[in-house]
Subunit: 140 residues, 4 copies
């Protein structure tokens, strides 16, 4: 049997709130998603003004970070033409993405969930996702 | 030109919270989704213990209630064999459902969003969705 | 944080083998799938002669039993025309089914996975799935 | 009329086991899938610790290797920008991939199945897939 720990709603909500505070601070309304260790959605917030087309992207970033166990931005280099991971974005019916803004949430040695953020530029998405992840990691 | 009003995050969150309070009161952890007038996700909460298989169902109920402009349970009769709507659940790639627990959020004459709830029995889902919708309508 | 236990490969394989032994005993080659508590595939076996069209059905039965936390056959009555769950099979892009042959695997109070079997009649699928589940439960 | 031969479960299982032994030897838990000549799943094993996001990728690699009749890594060059196969990964709804780690299983002049491996780096996936394929080919 495999024993595991995963993020619950209270922790997920703290991550979302911290990310939203940062998004507001930089003036970029965002879609913010948090998934558990298995990639299942736990919390989602679309700030007023966030793009509807980025809802699924935010969720995909979180799923990918939880499932690949690394920040989505760190996956990108391996997916470029000529690299071994080229084309991986086509898998999983649009649930896999190497777009920056997905970050795993870690407790001890375990990936217990992930945050995904989308609606701004990739750089803005990463800043907001990191604010959410930092809030989680500093409370561990 | 078409002017419209739609639920924002603050209103959506109040709906989610009211639904979660009711879910806790009846002892049934729920997946709770709120979409805007266009059917796009605004807020989502998976209470600890809610079924992962019901995440997408909760969202589908909200999308359907917003898009069909009626409670999902009220759509059900027309979808039975021999009725004119039989088979409509096959459309929209699993985003349309007549399962009870999706309720429109109304402001004046406008549908401004919807709530969808799933993880309990249909009866429990409806009770929780109504608690969320009531919180919204009583504040209008 | 949520602590959980889930089936590992060794347990999953024992479930598959027990099911396959029963399938052979009744002379019905089967597709046998075992998923973990989160609905992710852990082990799969297609016995020689099992129908290719039933591969995805076996997996769907396991996913549904894990996610709905009950045997798929027990879900069926609520999905009949006129019942509140009518149409639920249309959700989840073909990963939800009320066809008999999906059974949760339980350890203590936790659903730690599920088995799904498909290629025979529903009655034969249930017999084989129960053999797999029994092997797991008797070893707990 | 067309006569064909295809891998059965016993052969598929030997391939999976050989791959799992190699995966353990290099310390990388893997998802290992074997499909038959028609691209239908025959055997699947998720070793404890393998990524859930790589389950479908392992299967896609096996399907592609069986269907394209070559190792998935050998398909990659033709899929790069400027090459005639650019974009082919968008087809088949995520069941086609040029990611390395899918290898056909050959008997005489016939492709009788394929193995797909995913959860490590592409290089690790290829090593493990080759171990599975070698076990099959050396026993022919």
């Amino acid at each position: 049997m495999i024993r595991s720990i995963s993020i619950g709603f209270d922790e997920a909500e703290r991550v979302v709130v911290a990310a939203a505070v940062k998004a507001k601070a930089i003036g970029v309304p965002q879609n913010i998603a948090v998934v558990d260790a298995a990639g299942h959605l736990v919390a989602f917030r679309r700030m007023d003004g966030a793009k509807f087309l980025s809802i699924d992207i935010a969720i995909a970033k979180a799923v990918t970070a939880a499932g690949a166990r690394k920040a989505t931005a760190d996956i990108m280099p391996a997916t470029l033409p000529g690299q071994p991971g080229f084309g991986i974005q086509n898998l999983h019916g649009g649930r896999f993405t190497a777009l920056g803004g997905g970050i795993p949430l870690v407790a001890g040695a375990a990936i217990v969930g992930a945050i995904g953020v989308s609606s701004g530029s990739v750089a803005e998405d990463i800043i907001v996702a990191e604010a959410g992840a930092d809030a989680f990691h500093s409370s561990e």
